[in-house]
Symmetry: C2
Subunit: 421 residues, 2 copies
């Protein structure tokens, strides 16, 4: 017996048949004795349909009305899933963000959750009801409908789990967990049984787009055990124990805090990002405020910056390099050329044929030699490292895009990720 919050994304509820499958799955958890709160997204395709409707009226539709429009997508799903549950004799009630009072600030289209009223849900749970909540939406203090932005349903699920002090928050998706790296690149990639919140944040932001970063942050902040698992596998009852598998199927990947049970790998996974481009402004006069002079105009043009590298200066000038999304390369280069002229820098050079590969693991904190092992493995394959950047639990290198697959496979093997610890 446990209280579990389960979130099903748009693909998992994309058709009436799939909604019926979700209802069946919930039924099994109820039979097992678990209390269930379900969070659902809009049926796949529905949000895009609504977005197109809005844009056919106004390219920049008013933010408040955009939320009124988009929030209908999830409302359709909660109603259909509740019908499917009730049809099975599983007592269920749907709630919109307004009804369950997911209070947010008033930042339409990307609101942040402030609080959740748990009283109504407790009453329903005490009556043995499954609660079906519309993800991605809330209500501000004035009663306006708000949305949390794309992918916000994960955040809704985690917030509900935190408010209800649920035993686990399960995010159902079309993959069965978090892998050591992308199995399409490394067939030997292995599903992780556990991963820490910090590692998951580094993996997510680096391209393993299984979970929304905000939801992971939220779960970490409120210590909500978060599990990623497949909505196509047989249900595995998390409440029984924390073992990796049970008779029915996979238990996905549990995202939690580091503990003694945690597998003691040095490195948990290899993340990578194909869509990088780098830009360097050469021979910048090295004086205070130069970094801001360079990055300010880039930020103003709404280009997001990823890595930033500035080495020590020689002869009073320095070289300043950063990476951006490949789509923003041309625009960023134009902005940077103007900046270069203003600063009296020598030249702007760039390359949009690069990729970033990162090794991630809390284990590297207490182990020396991880970086050198990484660089050695790459060198042995003749892969030239263009840039290096590190954090507490991550080392990233930028290499020519032709080395992406080779680099990831090399590192996956060098750190023995294909074998369970």
């Amino acid at each position: 017996m446990a209280l579990i919050v389960q979130k099903f994304g748009g693909t998992s509820v994309g058709t009436v048949d799939r909604i019926e499958n979700v209802a069946d799955r919930i039924g099994k958890f109820r039979e097992h004795g678990d209390d269930i709160v379900v969070v659902v997204s809009a049926m796949s395709g529905e949000t895009n349909r609504l977005v197109e409707l809005a844009h056919s009226i106004d390219e920049k539709p008013e933010a408040r009305e955009y939320d009124v429009l988009l929030s209908t997508g999830e409302q359709v799903t909660i109603a259909l899933l509740s019908m499917a549950l009730n049809k099975r004799g599983i007592s269920a009630r749907s709630y919109t963000g307004t009804q369950v009072h997911i209070l947010t600030d008033s930042t339409h289209n990307k609101a942040r959750i402030l609080s959740i009223e748990e009283k109504k849900m407790r009453t329903d749970l005490d009556k043995g009801r499954v609660i079906v909540v519309a993800g991605f939406q809330g209500v501000d203090e004035h009663g306006n409908i708000t949305t949390l932005g794309r992918g916000g349903s994960d955040t809704t699920a985690v917030a509900l789990a935190a408010a209800l002090k649920a035993d686990e928050c399960q995010i159902y998706t079309d993959v069965d967990g978090v892998y050591t790296t992308d199995p399409r690149v490394v067939p030997e990639a292995r599903r992780l049984e556990k991963i820490t919140f910090e590692e998951m944040l580094e993996m997510a932001s680096l391209g393993s787009k299984v979970l929304q970063i905000r939801a992971v942050e939220f779960a970490g902040k409120y210590n909500v055990p978060l599990r990623v698992l497949s909505s196509f596998d047989e249900p595995a009852f998390a409440s029984a124990d924390t073992s990796d598998k049970n008779a029915d199927g996979s238990n996905g990947t549990l995202i939690t805090y580091e503990d003694d049970e945690m597998e003691q790998a040095l490195i948990s996974g290899i993340a990578f990002n194909r869509d990088e481009a780098k830009l360097t402004i050469l021979g910048v006069p090295d004086r205070p405020g130069v970094a801001y002079s360079i990055l300010g105009p880039i930020g103003d043009s709404n280009v997001e910056i990823d890595m930033i590298i500035q080495n020590i200066s020689a002869d009073g000038t320095t070289d300043f390099t950063f990476t951006v999304h490949r789509n923003d390369y041309v625009e960023a280069k134009e902005v940077l050329s103007k900046v270069s002229d203003e600063l009296g820098a020598r030249e702007v050079v760039g390359d949009d044929k690069i990729v970033k590969i990162s090794i991630v693991g809390v284990g590297m904190r207490s182990h020396a030699g991880i970086a050198s092992k990484m660089f050695k493995a790459l060198a042995e394959e003749g892969i030239n490292i263009i840039m290096i950047s590190t954090s507490e639990i991550k080392i990233s290198v930028v290499v020519d895009e032709k080395y992406l697959e080779l680099g990831v496979r090399t590192l996956h093997s060098a750190f023995g990720l294909e074998q369970k610890v």
Copy 2:
């Protein structure tokens, strides 16, 4: 300057282009200085799409969840229309039934409005905002979403007009008003400038399905001037005066209480119903309670009864006749045959090839000879009258279905309806 509630049905907001047209129309009223509250239905086709989704899950979907589902249809429209208005620089805000607090009872799928909170709307109107309200929906005292049933958007509009003491409630539709009869049957049929609530009720229930009966009742009860007009004509400003037309277009039909200005026609219109069937139980022992013995079982089988006729009895038995919708004929006949056996009646006979034609007019109250004029006109064309039923402001006859068009045309001409009084 006036406060006008305008309701646009599903056809009027059926596409993005039509929503833009509605926004243009509202803009003209704003330029004219009117305060506008708009009520909209779901885009045409949308409600059917949602109904199909529900039924693909459950033939009898749970009532509460059905309302959660269907209410999204109108929510989409309010958002899109508000976007279109704001794009034009016309300040607008959308509200769901929950947000504007259209309090209803808890009878899901056919809830009744109990009260409306006008404070929020007053504040918006004072700020010069157009208010866009989702029709057809409300909220019960527990915060559950309710719907008023199909066509309920008319009722929403009238209820809002009553709560706000609006100068007029305008129902935009695909016809430009209420006609003396169906122009497809009588090409000379004429649009009525005015009609009383009572007459409209008789016309509506008899098949002139321009307005929902409940909305007309509601408007009558709260004395809300109700105007039916076309969403495809140029706007005519009701607030300026009550004249029939202005330079821009038609002013539709005003439904109001009888007053001195009212055109003094004896008959306002000819209504008819093609889908009638009649059933007679012959030789029923004439004793108290026999009507209930007959109609009780019919009602229990959910067959709605229209006309009921029982003549004086001869020889201790009587003949009892009633009409039903043609679709219910077979079922009603089966039920009636059982009843007949139980009562010891002689025989059940019926006919599902009949139609009902009615003349309607408040003028007939004070004028004798209307009925005889009607019967004479029909007789001169050789139309045999099968049944007759009368009310205060209506006389209905049942005739063989082959006489429908001839009968309607004959009466339309006999009472001079093609000419304006």
